[in-house]
């Protein structure tokens, strides 16, 4: 019996997990002899087809096993992947590429990647998820070609690795993953996002983790147990009975807290001393409405409309858009406002019918409202559809424009809005009486111009993801800059504080609809800074409501003041965590 090893890392996703280790290593399994793969055993075409057939067999077996466990929905994913593995579209392309390059492994990877990009470009939410499935299939065929063996967990386990690539996390049936502990990675790592969506704990950046786990015996040993707390970032390798009991107690506490959170759902969100905070949901399609309402959303702070524009060869008609908006407006009714965001497209998203020029730097390019200078019809049609949907549903529609950077952008928005209504009135079509109009604050210039912009509109909604990227000049997708992608950085918080001050002077409310609003600690800081409304994915609302209920306005004021003066995001997070910890004692 070896001693417990206590380690700590960066909290990625909350929750407690206790269980055996599933050790993932990128190096080929020692069980596979060097050159044990199919590469070199035949022509590139022959080895690709053989590896594809073997991969399909593995995926079908995985599907069968899950079906045997009664998990039909998950099994269906592997069935579809099995078909993809031998799909003519994928294989013919891979074979053609291999004939040119002579490298079957790279050919399969490129072919899978090209199909995945095509699916992602359709950019309907369901199909983008399938893009990851295709890449995953490509990675699997590659492993068969190279003779690498990936032993998936056979019992529910905690994944331990330096980092978990998407192709691997996607292969683990969700029920077999209790938690994720990484020695590398960042808070924005794919594995962390996956963990949050599965509701399992994740901890990243755990120094000494691999040594403590591997030191105990052969890698991939399922015998080593781990206890982890995704809120504190603590990891205990081979916990003693006493430590295991402590983590079981924390697990029970957490279950109670989560039950409290769901009980709070029936009540409006408020601080412990009774100050109301408007808690609303982000939705991506009309089908998300039910989930948002069930989670207790008081409305929608961000209704993304891109789903209407992607995945097709011609722009959506005014009628088609009107129907989609009306459905959502009716689902939420007059008491629960729905903020429709005008299409945030262009730049990095391929929209065939717009024939947009390719840009070197799409995030700094002709995107969203900027498109409307040369191409106003897209927004005019959308605005007419919204005016009509408001009339049809009998509510005042709320609208906001993304990427507004200057007063000229706002001039354009307001004139298009009014022009859209005039057109309808001219044709004697029903239009809402008025439209509550706001802008997204995600470009730093808009934050600087907040006092002037605020006087001309009804509300601000801060998009913290893009604002963070632009304030810190750090590409959201660049893992090497993970440390700069934290919306709790005091520089971002100062920008938010400036927006709130500008809004207050003009008497308009400020919402936040970025990921920060759905993070309980982030929510405390935002409300402390004077934000009136938080909009987050439905799954985050319970946690935010529970956090708010445990803090008072004076505590939040003090938290905001200290956060603005803090040296870095980590310090801000600790300050916010102390507010939560302090209340429960």
């Amino acid at each position: 019996m070896t001693n417990s090893v206590r380690l700590s890392g960066v909290a990625g996703s909350p929750g407690i997990a206790i269980g055996p280790v599933w050790r993932f290593d990128v190096t080929p399994s020692t069980g596979a002899a060097p050159g044990g793969g199919l590469v070199g055993t035949g022509s590139p075409e022959a080895v690709i087809r053989a590896a594809a057939t073997e991969t399909a067999r593995q995926l079908e077996a995985l599907g069968d096993r899950l079906r045997g466990l009664g998990r039909d929905a998950e099994a269906a994913i592997f069935d579809a992947q099995g078909l993809m593995a031998t799909d003519p579209m994928l294989l013919d392309d891979a074979v053609r590429r291999a004939a040119d390059s002579g490298d079957p492994v790279e050919a399969v990877r490129l072919a899978a990647s090209s199909v995945a990009e095509m699916l992602a470009a359709l950019d309907d939410e369901i199909l983008s998820a399938r893009a990851a499935d295709v890449r995953d299939v490509g990675a699997r065929i590659g492993r068969v070609l190279r003779g690498e063996v990936l032993h998936l967990p056979v019992v529910p386990s905690i994944a331990v690795a330096e980092d978990l690539p998407p192709s691997v996390t996607a292969e683990i049936p969700p029920g077999f993953l209790l938690g994720i502990a990484l020695s590398g990675g960042s808070r924005t790592a794919h594995a962390v996002i996956l963990a949050r969506s599965l509701g399992i704990p994740a901890i990243v950046g755990v120094d000494g983790l691999l040594g403590a786990v591997d030191g105990a015996g052969p890698p991939a040993s399922a015998a080593v147990a781990i206890a982890m707390d995704g809120e504190t970032g603590e990891v205990v390798v081979r916990p003693s009975h006493r430590l295991e009991a402590e983590f079981r107690r924390r697990e029970a506490d957490l279950a109670i807290r989560r039950a409290d959170a769901s009980r709070l759902r029936d009540r409006p969100a408020a601080t412990a001393d009774g100050e109301r905070v408007m808690l609303v949901a982000n939705i991506g399609t009309p089908a998300d409405s039910g989930r948002a309402l069930a989670a207790g959303a008081e409305g929608v702070g961000l209704f993304r409309t891109e789903f209407l524009f992607m995945s097709r060869q011609t722009p959506p008609t005014e009628n088609e858009q009107m129907e989609a908006y009306r459905r959502v407006l009716e689902a939420f009714g007059p008491e629960r406002p729905v903020v429709i965001r005008l299409a945030d497209i262009g730049g990095d998203k391929a929209i065939p019918y717009l024939r947009l020029a390719a840009e070197q730097n799409p995030f700094l390019g002709v995107r969203a409202i900027r498109l409307a200078y040369a191409n106003p019809d897209l927004l005019l049609t959308q605005l007419r559809a919204i005016w009509r949907a408001g009339a049809a549903a009998g509510v005042v529609p709320h609208v906001m424009a993304p990427m507004v950077a200057t007063a000229a952008d706002l001039d354009l928005l307001l004139s298009l809005r009014d022009q859209a209504r005039e057109t309808l009135v001219g044709k004697s079509l029903p239009a809402a009486e008025r439209m509550v109009t706001g802008i997204m604050v995600e470009v730093p210039s808009a934050a600087f111009l907040a006092p002037e912009l605020a006087r001309r509109i009804d509300f601000f909604s801060i998009g913290t993801n893009d604002l963070t990227q632009y304030v810190l000049a750090a590409d959201r997708g660049n893992a090497a800059l993970a440390g700069l992608q934290d919306a709790l950085h005091p520089a971002v918080l100062r920008a938010i504080a400036g927006v709130v001050a500008g809004a207050d002077a003009a008497g308009i409310p400020v919402a936040v609809c970025g990921e920060l609003a759905g993070d309980p600690l982030g929510a405390l800081v935002l409300v402390g800074l004077g934000v009136d409304e938080l909009s987050a994915d439905a799954g985050s609302l319970d946690g935010v409501r529970a956090a708010l209920a445990r803090a008072t306005r004076p505590q939040l004021d003090e938290l905001a003041a200290r956060a603005l003066a803090a040296p870095d995001a980590e310090t801000v997070r600790e300050l916010a965590a102390a507010v939560l910890g302090g209340v429960t004692g």
């Binding site: 069935d79 579809a80 078909l83 799909d87 309907d124 199909l127 995945s311």
Partner: protein
């Protein structure tokens, strides 16, 4: 060669699971079978390719055209018509 047009009625369209069923069904015939999404005007794809079928982006309410060419083309079209009409393994409401 035979061809027919039909409307996708199941909630999730020809995504993932329904696409897999569609492809499995089409693959049971020797006839070559092509699928076009008339609503989006996408190019014809191989109905025996799940990636092709998914890339047609056929959602609920879209009209598709299926063309079968081969000895069992008539049976192939009958089977696919029936599959689409009954919701491709999903509940069809309204």
């Amino acid at each position: 060669m035979r061809t027919d047009e039909m409307e996708i009625r199941n909630p999730s369209g020809l995504h993932a699971r329904p696409a897999a069923l569609f492809v499995k069904s089409a693959s049971g015939f020797v006839a070559s079978i092509r699928l076009e999404n008339l609503t989006t005007g996408s190019a014809a794809v191989d109905a025996k390719s799940i990636l092709g079928v998914m890339s047609s982006g056929a959602a609920r309410g879209h009209r598709i055209r299926v063309t079968a060419d081969g000895t069992d083309e008539e049976a192939a079209l009958d089977t696919i018509r029936e599959l689409v009409a009954t919701g491709i393994g999903e509940e069809v409401d309204g």
